[in-house]
């Protein structure tokens, strides 16, 4: 089943659009949906769905997940880590109110096929109050987030990151920049 889909890269933005910065992944994914990206890339705005996203996850060979992450840094800080970098399940994700969190679903999909390599681009939130706008700190981080995602995509495709990273993104930089 998966063999026919080799080379699919899924950019998945998740979060709750009604809780301000919690929706940062959704905001970033929506911007990326408007961009001209290589045909191998599928951008999905996953909302707060957990289990229900398995149908797109099993089609992907590579996942780049964009989400709000409480890592303890300044608001708007950006983290990049692999799914394996997270401490073991399931204690880590206590604050999730998904019945099953997105990272758990990615691991669960491993029971019926290969688990896609998953990198998380996380953004430190400040405001989780009810509201549909991002805080200024988090909104400012979005261009950098998109640049990082594009670099991940480029690296996965074996392209020059510069070529992809500069297209339409004000924060486009050289791959050798310390990010």
């Amino acid at each position: 089943m998966a063999s026919a889909k080799r080379g699919k890269i899924l950019v998945l933005g998740v979060g709750n659009l009604l809780l301000s910065d919690e929706g940062v992944g959704v905001h970033a994914a929506r911007e990326m949906m408007e961009m001209d990206l290589p045909p191998e890339v599928l951008v999905v705005e996953g909302g707060t769905d957990g289990f229900g996203l398995m149908h797109v996850l099993v089609e992907a060979d590579r996942v780049i997940l964009i989400d709000a992450v409480k890592g303890g840094g300044q608001p708007g800080s950006i983290y990049r880590f692999e799914i394996e970098d997270c401490p073991p399940f399931p204690d880590v994700f206590k604050t999730s109110v998904h019945q099953i969190s997105i990272l758990e679903v990615i691991n669960l999909s491993g029971l019926i096929g290969p688990t896609p390599r998953t990198t998380i681009i996380g953004i430190e939130p400040i405001c989780l109050e009810m509201g549909m706008e991002l805080s200024p700190q988090v909104a400012r981080a979005i261009p950098k987030v998109i640049r990082l995602v594009k670099e991940e995509v480029a690296a996965s495709l074996g392209h020059s990151p510069r070529k992809l990273a500069t297209g339409g993104s004000p924060a486009g930089g050289s791959p050798s920049d310390p990010i």
């Binding site: 229900g52 149908h55 303890g72 998904h98 691991n107």
Partner: protein, 522 residues
Amino acid sequence: MGRRITIDPITRIEGHLKIEVEVEKGKVKNAWSSGTMARGFEALLLGKDPRDASYVTSRFCGVCFSVHQMASARALDVAFGAQVPWGGRLLRNLVMGAEYIYDHLVHFYHLSALDYIDIMAIANYKGKDSELNKVKDKVVGLVQRGDTFPLTPRYEPDEFSVNDPDVVISAVKHYLDALKMQIKAKNMGVIFGGRAPHYQSIVVGGFTQYPDINQIARFRSMLDELAGFVNEVYIPDVLAFGTGPLLPLAKGGVGGGHRNYLSYGSFELNEAGDELVFKPGVIFNLNGTKSIEIRPFEQKRVTESVHYSWYKQDKPRHPYQGAQVFDLERPDAYSFIKAPRYDNVPMEVGPLARALVDQDPTILGIMRNQGVKPGAVARHAARALETKKVVDAMYHWCDELTAAMTKPGFKIHDTDHWEPPAEGEGAGFFEPPRGALGHWIQIKDHKIANYQAVVPSTWNASPRDERGVRGQYEESLIGAPVPDPENPINVVRVIRSFDPCLACAIHLIDPKTNEILKFMVE
């Protein structure tokens, strides 16, 4: 005074439902159900264009998003005076039908079944079936790596747990098969829904996207596969468990609770709308299954009490008069969930309520012949059996849609009622997989003046009302056997049989440690 046990959270992996029980002499004597997270997204809608409601409400919940879109669109249909053409109603039904199959399979296999089996028995499987041995190797491999999530239950197996290795291994095989099946069900919904999650296609007045004949053909072929799984695997599994090892729980009516049931009714089978898959109705105080009195549902009888909830409000109010103003100082309050009541009485909603209101002959037959009483096991059976009813209706809707498409003037949307009225109000009702869902909207100056949603888990998980009467989760726990206070597995079984879902808010990644800091890049 019995011993108090707290279970928080109770959904399989995550959730914001806390259950406290007091156990005396091995049985639950008293129980409290608390929603531990503030909601109240309705406030976001005030002042917005009413047409936004179906999109915004679909963000209320990450698990059951599309059903809010449906209930919201129906409330708007009423408020706008829109007449949804048969084509639009058929498409809505097909998308919602796919949701039923998805939800019920995931609920049984992935969120509940593991409470009833001793997963470790799998290591004792001695059979030769190569596929089952693959399953055994996979699970044993996970156990050896210490990575048993998500297969291990949180509680120890008890006398009701199935530990026959052949049965356990086939259940786990079906767990894995159902993972693939739920993917198919999601993909099927996407054919007409446009995208998932958060379908775009259900709007006030009908549906946004015309179907073509190829889509219907694709939909049907996926439906064939899912129907096969429902009829040949899911229903037989549930019935084999329910009338086999779990029969004592089923006959004991463990998890029965108040015997009041409410269904709003859903899923028209004909254009006139007078034949439904699920009939609307109310049952008060069910007493046996011989003669069941069904009263008509009247929406004016719905109220919400906040006596034990963290909200400001004087007395129980109809949703049109409701508001979401928090009062964290409220004395005696213990939940963020309000207490919906019908004629001042708590109701159970969901598959068992639908089956009883429908007087479904299959479930009533099982209850009579096997002596099964309303409770946790009956709920699982009703859920499995109604999946078949929905699947059968989906074939019928595909036929109806195919026929309707070829007629001149085929419509899927009432475009004459797209603009919001200056004033208006409407109540929209739907029966999603988890039970009765109602949205109430009031419009003033073309904008939303008030909006209230009363969701299925609010009915079932409600706290006590101003008369001190327990909600249905609370009542259903009374008398549940808990021989070992360290292992309250029956409490979990009872609550999970309702398909609890309070996944209505935050979900961000929040590692316990500050480990993630070292991965900071900007």
